[in-house]
Amino acid sequence: MNKLNEIEGLNISENYLVSPFYVFFIICTMQVGIGILGFERYLVETAGFDAWISVLVAGGFLQVLVWVMYRLLQNGGGDIVHIHKQVFGKYIGGFLSLLFAIYALLLAFDVMITFIEVIKVWMFPGLQVWIFAFVMIGLVYYIVSGGFRVLTGIALISIVIGLPILLLKFFPIQAGHTMNIYPNIEHSPMQIMAAAKQSALSFLGLEFLLIFYPFIKDPHKSKKWAHFAVFYTTMLYFISVLVTFVYFSEEQLKQVVWGTISTWKIVEFPFIERFEYVGIAMWLYVILPNVCIGIWGATRVMKRVFPVKQIHFLRFTCISLFFPVALVAGRDPINAINNFIGTVGFYVLLYIPVLLLLKTITDKVRKRHEH
């Protein structure tokens, strides 16, 4: 029997669970989203062409973080709401869980507005944002109301559809100057670490494991898949960074807002002159699970805190997300929101090891009291 089933509220019947293998897709798809389209520029501003090291450093930290999360969850945790309750008690714990839910919503919100901005700048300047937002949120509502298994399916599709886009890296490499990344490590370790922090926004997403953990069948078996997923995204980002570095000169890249989309611009096939149109359209599938899992995670946490059905929360959040998504526009506000969420996300990631520490301490104290 599943040990988690003993915890109240985490009693999930087996036909809602997913195989441990799918953790790979869920974490990957959550990590790869809107950040990869334009994160190069921010890295270059801090660490120049040494920023590829930053990506690897960030990837290394995330591996540690995965270990921390499994440690946290396996010690009879279940999910973040339960852990919060154990560590901080009902009220403070509930409040912190709600903050986590708001963070998940912000993430979904950020992905949506950034993607809509990309569509407006690159394809259709005259896009009616509210219609698009309406259709997109409708789709998200439809998927999320299908439950966690449907979300997993969407995550799988997203990864499979996103894969061929990787092949396009061939074109910029062909036109590239491979010597560009030399000499290595010209920037100070502090600058490289700062750039690693900068890449946080693009790496966000794996913390959702704290929410969907109870939905994994044989959760201890999923550990290696989570590590694989983080490794895969790190490599993906590493390759993307290297390709944009050889394609652009350093000063040029500092002025390119969306590095990865700009490298698609030279892809030309006889049947299509501008590949970025196809790329951006396909990217909808890549970001769709980000929005879905973000909203699902937020509503799931709310449901665990308050005794109300998840579907009510879902309807409420979808409606309340619609207006800000339809109204926010322009490079500057969106950039500010991106930076804000990047910073918040960075602290959320930092908070997880702290939580583990607190939990270990409270467990010890409790044990001593019992004796």
Partner: protein, 362 residues
Amino acid sequence: MNIKWKFFVLLCILLLSAGCVPSKSVEENAIVQISGYDRGGDGGRIKGTVSIPQYGKSEKKTAASELYLTVDANSIKDVEKEIQKQSSKPISIGKLAVTLYSMELAEEGISDVIDVLSRDARLSRNMYLGVVDGQTQDLIENGYTQDETTSKHLQGLIENNIHHNFPSTSLHEFLYAYYAIGMDPYLPILAQKESFVEISGIGFFKKGKLVTTLSDAKVFTFKMMKENFTRGMQDLPFQEGTIMLDNIGSTVDYKLTGTNENPGLEINVKLKSEVNEMVGVEEKPSPQLAEEMEDAFVDYFKTNADEMIELFKKEGIDPLGLGHFAKTRTRHFDEKRWEDLYPDMDIQFDVDVEITEYGIFS
């Protein structure tokens, strides 16, 4: 939700998505494929000329016809606006393949034009830029062939030459060099002869301003110093006649020499080639003759290259990207100091010509 409802929702989504932006069909657009800019007269700062191919409604294939529009404007975007006034169809610039600037304009600086090109998401990065010796308006409005539009013709002209004697060029490469530290961009120079147009040389830029040019005869040497390539031809007077060298593989290698305080550079070229024309050369092909020819070519390339390097030093430009190369080989590269040292830098050029074949007739 039952299945009917789901179907209904899906249908709504499909219909709504299709209605998000206004659609335009190809025939109803004026597709600009080439644009040229001259210095303006009284009407504005610059004069823009575009050509728009006209597609007939009938099925039968007719000669390619084009519509030429010329306007005076104050900025590049203004040109688009002014042209819109003269056009019966909405202007679409997504297919723009060639952009030309007159020599006058290029000498004054085309930085603001470059900014527009790099900012506009609709434009291709594979677009060709060029400098026109003369007026771009005349060059564009002079039809060249019966079955090709001017834009296709010029695009083909530059593309074909990139595969032969001319070093590779495109909007992306121009921007790369324009922004890079220790590298300056160059563009082809087009000139109109009686009824055709030809690439007559190469123009070098410094911070968006055309500073010097090089004639067509020396382009081969420049390309040899700039990149590896496998085609291209170079002629040379030899004995009483002319010999023609056919490149079958040339590789170039830069090397940083000297100390950190006093850097120098070595450019080494290895050229494998065939000689396919020996007009007026009396001797039969033999190893000795090959050696003589090789020496003649080495001399020729060396003099040319040294002259070119002197020219670059004098003008303070670096189209070869030597500074860019040095930056990748030096820790804490000091751009200012490099620029100060550049005019007096010791730059050695060495070429090794190997002639392997003489064709199928001896």
